[in-house]
Structure formats: C-alpha cells, structure tokens
C-alpha cells in the first residue's frame, strides 16, 4: 500500500481525523450558509417565473440538489464501504456508516419536495413510476443500512456487514439516474447536463448550480460532525478520548 500518500495515511488515524473534522466543520457550515443565501436569492428573487409552471418551479432549487446528493452520498458511502470491507480501516467503516443518515435525509427531502411539486403540476402527490419508485427504493436502502448496522452487538462487525449491503445496493444508482430515459415516466427528463447544453435558461441555471455546491458543503459539515462523534464512542477507551472527556465532559 505504498501508493497511498502519507497525509492520507495520517488523516485516517482517528485522533487526527477528529481534530481535522473539528476544525473544518464550522467552515463547511459557513460556506454552505453563504452559498445557500446566494443560490436562494438567485432562485427565489432574481430568476423569472417559469412560463408553464409559474412560481412553483422554484422548488427545483432544493429538489434537484437534494436528489443529486441522494445519489452522490450513496456513491461516497459505497467507496468507503468498499475500503471498509477490503482493508478494514476504522475510519472508512465510520465514514460509510455515518453517511447513511445524511443520505437518507436528502432522499427524504427529495421525495417530499417532489411530491409537493407534483401535486400542482401533475395533479398527483405520488405515482408508482420508475423515477419515483427507484428513489423510494434508495430511501429503503439507506434505512436498511442503518438498521443492519445497529442490529450487531459489535459495532465494527456491524459496519462491515452493512457496508456489504451498501455495495449490493449500488445497482440501484444507475436505475435511479437513467429511469427517465429507460422508461416512460411522468417525471421530466434531465435538465442539467454535464455534457452538452443544459435545457434551462442561464438566469434559472446558475442558482441551481450554486445550490448544488451549497448542498455539497452542507454534506461535508454534516459528515464531519457525525464521524467525529462516532470516533469518540468507538475509541472511548483510548487516551485521547479520555483526555477530551476530562476537559469537556462536565
């Protein structure tokens, strides 16, 4: 494993990562709040109303970034889960397991905001079409991972078992992403495209991209908070945690 850079090896030690996360978390949160303020000002105030949907289209500025995060977080969780299963690195186990709640939160937001958006535009809160159903399956996968993790007495064993479930569930990611192309769905097609022109006006597009950045920053802050707390209880017998409890445990 000589190809792993020294700083990465260093950062994967729990006390080092704890300090890193403690320092970085407020910065990520500030960045998230600033970009959210800019993005929502652009999306809610500056962008014009949609010519077909009117102002209800403005739900896009939270719905699409959350939907993207629901897949992105699963991807990160799968990479960490793979490392946890193969190399059994404690930090990777923690990152994989602590990704699940924030991923579930974004998936839940996606489903609820989509439902609220669907009622006035489609005339229904819910329909069993490919995009909506596969996103619901994603939520159940997140909840399944959380449940399996907590079902084990030994936390590290639970983390590895749940990581295995994470890897099996990766199959759902392309299904969610391509569902609007593979099946005839009520859900509209892809609006923002990495390759080729996006199907949206620039005035409406930039706030969406800013909000996608904001949710990334938020995710980083959330993960720092969860992983550092998890490391404390995982390493509660170690000196660095006992010192911390001595100082802050009143």
């Amino acid at each position: 494993m000589k190809w792993i850079p020294h700083w990465m090896h260093e950062l994967s030690s729990p006390p080092t990562f704890y300090r890193f996360a403690t320092v970085m978390r407020p910065w990520f949160l500030v960045l998230a709040l600033v970009t959210t303020a800019i993005g929502l000002y652009g999306g809610l105030v500056m962008a014009p109303a949609d010519y077909q949907q009117g102002d209800v289209f403005r739900i896009i500025y939270i719905h699409v970034p959350s939907a993207e995060m629901s897949l992105f977080v699963y991807g990160v969780m799968a990479v960490a889960g793979f490392i946890a299963v193969v190399w059994r690195i404690k930090l990777a186990e923690s990152v994989a397991m602590q990704s699940a709640p924030v991923g579930a939160a974004f998936t839940f937001i996606t489903l609820v905001t989509g439902s609220i958006w669907g009622e006035p535009t489609w005339g229904t809160w819910w329909t069993w079409d490919a995009r909506l159903t596969s996103e619901l399956v994603l939520l159940f996968l997140y909840l399944g991972v959380i449940g399996l993790f907590h079902a084990f007495e030994d936390r590290r064993q639970g983390a590895r078992a749940a990581s295995f479930l994470v890897l099996v569930g990766v199959i759902n990611l392309p299904i969610v992403h391509y569902s609007v192309q593979w099946w005839n769905t009520l859900h509209q097609g892809t609006t923002v495209r990495l390759f080729g022109p996006s199907r949206i006006e620039a005035d409406m597009l930039w706030p969406l991209l800013v909000m996608m950045l904001a949710t990334k920053f938020y995710w980083a802050a959330s993960l720092c908070g969860r992983v550092r707390t998890d490391l404390l209880s995982l390493e509660s017998g170690k000196h660095w945690v006992r010192d911390l409890a001595q100082k802050e445990g009143h």
Partner: protein
Amino acid sequence: MAAFWHMGGYAPYVWSAYAVFFVVLLADYLAPVFRRRRVLRELHARMQRQKSRDARKAALHATPPDSETDRTSTSPSP
C-alpha cells in the same frame, strides 16, 4: 415583498417544500452535536466512578493485614 411571499399563488407548495428542506437538515446537523455531548458526559461520569473505586481499593489495601475484623471500616484512621 408581498408578491414574493405570495409566489404567484403557489405559496403553500413552495414554502412548505423549503420548510421541509431546512427542518430536516437542521435536525440532521444537531443530532450529532447532542450525541457528542452525551458521549463525553457519560465517559466522564464513568471515569469519575472508576477513580473513586480505585481510591476505595487503595484505602482498603492500606489497612494492615492483621486487623482482619476491621475490613469494613475503610476510612483511613489516624
């Protein structure tokens, strides 16, 4: 400003969606904050208990071995 809050008649939809977004993420952010505090407090309490247990044990061993009947009084007598 009133037009902004009105959202072209879609106010209940738009604002409830935004409320869900912020409430869920706020809960997600605060959960580990409270959990961290609880973990540290519990560990601190456990360390305190361990410390007083160790002190008692030390006092017990400090009593001379011939005073077998006096084992129950662990307070260091002058």
